[in-house]
């Protein structure tokens, strides 16, 4: 199976280790992983700002880069939602593109969904190498949860991690307040919202909060540190599953 890894612009710039962890995990499933070299950003910031023409251009660019693979895996529910749900919508009325958009959308999987499907369909996959000694709690990112139905997948994957016990926080499905441009445009409101998330995390007494979207994680980690919490680790699920710090 030839799999394209769509790294995402945020992982590329802010935390490359997530990209390498995702790469190792997909390889561990027995797939050939390719990182399409011309990828930049899926275009969600343009779409989200209401700039449809630019969102369409970037959708076409990504579709051209991603259409010749058996699967496209993205370590972010937010970007995966853009490719799976928004691309077909953006290109629905362009005959030359509609079918290509649908095909790419159909092949696109958020990372935990992909790993979960692979585990179910193939018996020979060994356990992932990650280990984590301690208590963890999981933050459900909005797009992943409500647009892609990602709920059990990360939890079942984490249940296989040696040493890790999961303790659900209150309102684990509530938004952390990130919201892309929202976090800068209305930074004070965003900070007020993430305070509730930080408090819920603290109440679990977890050693780490884990999530599947780097945007949420930067928001949560940034606020935790500013509030003086220097110990709670903030980790992408790929990092937890793949183990071993690289890069």
């Amino acid at each position: 199976m030839r799999v394209a890894l769509y790294v995402t612009c945020l992982v590329d710039l802010m935390r490359p280790a997530i990209g390498f962890a995702a790469l190792r995990l997909i390889e561990a499933c027995g797939c050939d992983v390719v990182v399409p070299p011309a990828q930049t950003c899926c275009g969600q910031p343009a779409w989200s700002a209401g700039n449809r023409p630019l969102a369409i251009e970037l959708a076409r660019k990504a579709i051209g880069e991603l259409e010749n693979y058996d699967a496209i895996v993205v370590p972010s529910g937010s970007c995966a939602d853009q490719i799976r749900n928004v691309y077909p919508q953006l290109l629905a009325d362009q005959p030359a593109w509609a079918e290509r958009a649908r095909r790419v959308a159909g092949n696109c999987r958020e990372l935990t969904t992909f790993l979960h499907e692979m585990l179910r369909s193939t018996a020979e996959i060994p356990d992932f190498p990650g280990e984590f000694a301690g208590r963890a709690t999981y933050h459900d990112a909005c797009k992943g949860l409500r647009a892609l139905g990602i709920k059990e997948q990360p939890r079942e994957l984490l249940a296989r991690v040696r040493g890790l016990t999961l303790h659900e926080m209150d309102e684990c499905e509530a938004c952390c307040g990130f919201g892309g441009a929202f976090s800068v445009r209305f930074a004070d409101v965003s900070t007020r919202i993430v305070d509730d998330k930080c408090a819920a995390i603290a109440r679990t007494g977890a050693d780490a909060v884990i999530g599947g979207d780097l945007g949420c994680l930067l928001n949560i980690e940034g606020r935790l540190r500013r509030l003086g919490d220097e110990t709670t680790r903030v980790l992408h699920i790929a990092e937890v599953l793949a183990g071993g710090d690289e890069s």
């Binding site: 590329d12 070299p37 909005c142 647009a147 929202f182 930074a187 900070t191 940034g222 500013r226």
Partner: protein, 482 residues
């Protein structure tokens, strides 16, 4: 369309004020879990009745959509049936016209005191101000509305108008208005305080010449107004005075009583978690021979104020709204700020859609962006309104009309160019990764930026965790070379 008194252009500044208001923040923090717990209970009772939320929502949505598909026809049927039952039906193009019609009617009838039960349309119309200017005294009788009227504020929530007030604030208002010394109050005193308001309002209930109510629904087949309330004030307002005015929007129609029954299974459960509200009134026509109470004259004032303009367009789904408040009750932005930050009549996600549509896109530029896109609103909406999609549609409309600020447009253009040119993009991210790393400080918890000049808003309340100084693609290229 009239957006009289809208402050929606000042959302950002008002948001800052609301965040700094510690009393308000306390009230909101207390209320939020109560609201979400109520709906949770409502959904549990729906399930206990063997009803499935998704199926109920589909049925409710279909009823509302059926009305919108032929709204003109349903309105004509409603008018004919209401008139046949003895009521008058007046039409108002906008809020100002609605207020004028009601003031004129009150003056013609020699009305001096008006009791009111909750009507958000009354806020759209600025009705209390219009009545007061004409020397007529409006008295809000819904407890929450009574409180905000005493405070001379607009409601901050469509079903809980005084949710932003603390008990101490209400006590201060009551003490002053009711001419008594202030006391220390706790939540155990709420029934006592409600009773105090009741005693005061009783005089007005008996003295009023006109009662004004909204309508949760208008029922076409019977020409009735349906009223869903909990305090009983709605009955006093609609049965005691000799005149009853029903003020509501033209989109509130449902075809039949059967449809109304379907919607009633999901409205209170979505709003307050109740299986059914304490009072459900169906008001048809006027007092008949032998009736012990009821108005001698009933007048429907049905208002457009921008609604008809939405029919058949991309924003038509918003007209399905049944005003349950679930969207704001599950909105992180609403509960960070309260309703007043939104600046016009309707707050929360439904308000962020309606305000620009009813008062003008250019008069509420921030509201469509005042959302994290989390879709907690859309997932609880009992009539399946895709609120984030509608907010997104408004963002696109702003762009299409050139309403976004030049700085934002320029940034988007530059970023868009880079994202389409991978070589330049790689070069820039290479430099950016180094720059971010260089700006950061290391400590036990990792490397992070505490003050970031390029996005100072981010670091006003948060650190910015940064990476190792080399982007993914730079590292990946190096590995491939090895």
């Amino acid at each position: 369309m009239s957006g009289g008194g809208s402050q929606a252009m000042h959302f950002k500044a008002r948001a800052g004020d609301k965040l700094a208001d510690r009393i308000l923040q306390g009230a909101l923090k207390k209320a939020q879990p109560l609201f979400t717990a109520k709906r949770r209970k409502g959904m549990a009772s729906l399930a206990a009745d063997g009803l499935d939320f998704a199926a109920m929502r589909a049925a409710a949505q279909a009823i509302r959509q059926r009305v919108l598909d032929d709204l003109d026809v349903w309105l004509e049927i409603f008018e004919a049936r209401a008139v046949a039952a003895g009521a008058d039906v007046l039409w108002a193009r906008d809020g100002a016209e609605a207020a004028r019609l009601i003031v004129e009617l009150a003056q013609r009838e020699g009305v001096r005191t008006v009791t009111k039960s909750k009507s958000m349309l009354s806020e759209e119309a600025g009705l209390n101000a219009a009545l007061t200017a004409a020397g007529i005294r409006p008295v809000e009788t819904d407890l929450g509305e009574y409180i905000v009227q005493l405070a001379q504020e607009p409601p901050s929530h469509i079903i809980a108008p005084a949710v932003h007030k603390t008990i101490a604030q209400v006590e201060a208002l009551f003490a002053e208005a009711h001419g008594r010394p202030q006391q220390a109050r706790t939540s155990a005193d709420i029934p006592k305080m409600a009773d105090e308001a009741r005693q005061v309002l009783r005089r007005d209930f008996l003295a009023a010449d006109m009662g004004i109510s909204g309508a949760n629904f208008l029922i076409a087949e019977t020409g009735s107004a349906a009223l869903v309330t909990n305090e009983g004030n709605g009955r006093m307002v609609t049965t005691l005075p000799r005149l009853h005015v029903v003020l509501t929007g033209i989109e509130k129609l449902v075809p039949t009583l059967e449809d109304f029954a379907t919607l009633m299974r999901i409205l209170p459960r979505s709003a307050t978690g109740q299986d059914i509200s304490n009072y459900v009134s169906l008001l048809t026509g006027t007092r008949r021979d032998g009736d012990l109470d009821g108005p001698q004259k009933t007048v429907f004032v049905l208002v457009d104020n921008g609604r008809a303009g939405l029919l058949g367009g991309a924003f038509e789904p918003m007209l399905r709204c049944i005003r349950c408040g679930a969207c704001m009750n599950h909105c992180p932005v609403y509960f960070a700020l309260g309703g007043h930050a939104y600046g016009w009549v309707y707050p929360g996600p439904m308000g962020s859609v309606l305000t620009p549509l009813y008062t003008g896109l250019e008069n509420a530029l921030d509201l469509p962006h005042a959302s994290t896109g989390c879709n907690q609103c859309g997932s609880v909406c009992p009539v399946g309104i895709p609120l984030p999609d509608l907010l997104h549609g408004l963002r696109e409309a702003q762009n299409a009309r050139g309403l976004r600020p030049p700085g934002e447009r320029l940034t988007m253009r530059l970023w868009g160019w880079l994202a389409r040119h991978p070589r330049s993009y790689r070069l820039l991210t290479r430099l950016a990764a180094r720059y971010l790393h260089w700006l950061g400080d290391d400590d036990a918890a990792g490397r992070r930026i505490r003050i970031f000049g390029l996005a100072p808003a981010w670091t006003a309340g948060r650190d910015l965790p940064v990476g190792p100084g080399r982007s993914f693609f730079e590292q990946y290229a190096a590995r491939k070379r090895d």
